[in-house]
Subunit: 461 residues, 2 copies
Amino acid sequence: MEFTRLNETHKKELKSMVAPDRFSTGDSNLDLHSRDQSHHEAFRPEAVIWPVSGDEVSAILKYANQHLIPVTGWGAGTSLEGNPIPIKAGLVLDFSQMNHILSVREEDFQVDVEPGIDYKTLNEALRHKGLFFPPDPGASATIGGMIANNASGTRTVRYGSTKDHVLRLSVVLADGEMIEMGTRASKTSSGYDLIHLFVGSEGTLGIVVQATLHLTGLPEEFSAAVVTFPSVEVAGKAVFGIIRSGLDPAMLELLAPECVDLMNREKGLGLDVSPTLLVEFHGPTKTQLADVMEIAREICQEEDCFEFRPALGREERDQLLKARHELGEMLRRNHPDRLTMAMDVAVPITAYPELIAMARKETRNAGVPAYVFGHAGDGNIHVALMRKAEDQRETEIIEGVSHRIVEKALSMDGTATGEHGVGIGKRKYMETEHGRSLEWMKKIKAVFDPNGILNPGKVFP
Amino acid sequence: MEFTRLNETHKKELKSMVAPDRFSTGDSNLDLHSRDQSHHEAFRPEAVIWPVSGDEVSAILKYANQHLIPVTGWGAGTSLEGNPIPIKAGLVLDFSQMNHILSVREEDFQVDVEPGIDYKTLNEALRHKGLFFPPDPGASATIGGMIANNASGTRTVRYGSTKDHVLRLSVVLADGEMIEMGTRASKTSSGYDLIHLFVGSEGTLGIVVQATLHLTGLPEEFSAAVVTFPSVEVAGKAVFGIIRSGLDPAMLELLAPECVDLMNREKGLGLDVSPTLLVEFHGPTKTQLADVMEIAREICQEEDCFEFRPALGREERDQLLKARHELGEMLRRNHPDRLTMAMDVAVPITAYPELIAMARKETRNAGVPAYVFGHAGDGNIHVALMRKAEDQRETEIIEGVSHRIVEKALSMDGTATGEHGVGIGKRKYMETEHGRSLEWMKKIKAVFDPNGILNPGKVFP
């Protein structure tokens, strides 16, 4: 597909669809929308537009589709696989001005939002109502970005991914048509499930302009522990034991010692620099949680953990969680001369110990800075591999490590991406992972976006 | 679309694709596959085939697609909206011989099954491993049928619908191609979510020949109560109170007095003939459950319940649940001269009391036998309306009642079907419920089944 480069007429006409200060071709704005937090090469769009309504998005897409101009949605630019990098140039739609909570239906556990609101702001607004939107990717992601990537995080082991919390969507399609899908009922068997088709489609099928999210009540009580182990591999076995037990943790995070060390240095946490699990349970009473935590202790002690330190106070728990959330940022800050490849795979939980062992072996031998961590309770592992920007040898090294870990995960019936999405970096695995069903995904893409203007160059190989 | 009627050559060729005793054009077999448990008119297929493998299904569909022969999948025939009635004749594929558990991956909480296994048999086999497949539609549904309709039931309020438990599917498409979709990892952001597109598509996009289900650990403890109320409307308010409280019930079933009366007569239960809620909680300890039940009692007493009878023993709980599951059967048995329309809508929980009040008023005035019950915790109401088979006046009455209840549910942002699917009876509401997005469902249908041979005449108006 040959796309159109914006000429002065296009720019003038697009600018006229929004307020003049919400259309920019300025260098700094183009640069700001040329890269996410991944290691992927930057590409500048030709213009950035900040829409304020679905109608504006609709008018822009209609025009772009007629003129074969690529359009890529933009949340907070925090994704990790190049998902919003406009590699075919064209327009970036930045949703930072569509960031409102439209209504809270507290007693239905529902909220209507625009896509540009970030989930931290949303949860802050919901907290005093005793509600929250549980998927918790860590970075300051927007709801629109989370929907596009089916984001998940530290709370997913108990509360599910973004896809489990979306009831309704308003979506603008490639030709500018706006459609609404879903229902406010908590369940439905009515027609095809378009919601789940759009969640995780990375802005390649349409652009979300409004969403109704199903919320969860804040837990009455929590109980958290820090557990240290002689090796990451053994910690992986304890993860498997806890999941198998059915204890239903609300967090089960794995940190290799290099991560703990970094968090200590940055945040003065004073943790033992050992392979570590952060474990948390949610429940109705302190007594019940104490029982659950005791079982978790037994499981970890059977795996010869070094130390099991339960009963963290809220302050310490919050501090640890904050440090864990900022880990990606710390990595980038501590290696200012390097780009981070934060690779992401997930496997069934029985395969987790073997995957962890394999990944550790790879990172030990890599010869570049490498950090292993993950949402262990989901069988989800992240390996951050740091390379010098222009170093071809290091680029080959980290691509080799990443490739072998992805292939390993796929060989164990896992997925090439648990939560970062396909973006640019995982396109080459789509055939292996999906086989013939990939062809049917392409056919669906062709139905919704026949000219291929929506986030071109992503998801498909 | 004009379909082909089977001639002798078609029959001979189709018969040669399977063993001779797995192809039938006999009257009794055609009759058995001409109706489900709904009130919809019976239509006989032209032949019934019992496949034993995905390859057989593939060969049959390839042939049927070339010759424009309709194909409708068949589980147990327990659906309630005419979903598997072969209204355009052609072939019915009966999956009762593809009913095997292929493997239990106990430690991954997963099972691989063929579609013809019924969920009761599956759960019986899983019980001694401490696992279960939670969606619980009551009738002896097969897993294939549950996937086709995104079935749910008494346990959905806590554990979700069928769609929340399907990890992988093998599906034969209209042209005979078999594709696999999904992953054994507990989460993924890899490509479009085809799983959720197929779950609930009522066999109109493809035919499931294998599924991997995610299982749940059997709860450690349960606590159940029977609560009676002065009116169904008031019981509806208590439902809202319990859901709003975040107590997370594992069952919250509403029974109008006529249902209780029937269950008493059939099962000798000796319950008070009043509007009744069956409430159940699952949890880790008896102590915790006692606390939760106490809060539920307070909520019900605030609504002036007649009686709150907690601490049912396992035997009584099982007996009540069994009677609830057999309610549909009892209705049919007690009105042998009548057909049952078991209508099904769901609304957001705040709208539930009003919907219940409206439905009660309708059934009181209907002048035909009518029974109100529902999975109240999901905002899901069922109204069973009984009509004489050939009575035009009664047919108009029940269609009027049903129509007004569906319109009411849709006006409150609910859905025309919470769990029975669209089938035949709800097609006419698809435009109102889905608006323009219905057109996009049709386009997806056209991609997967361009000749429209798969379960024709369903889902779409």
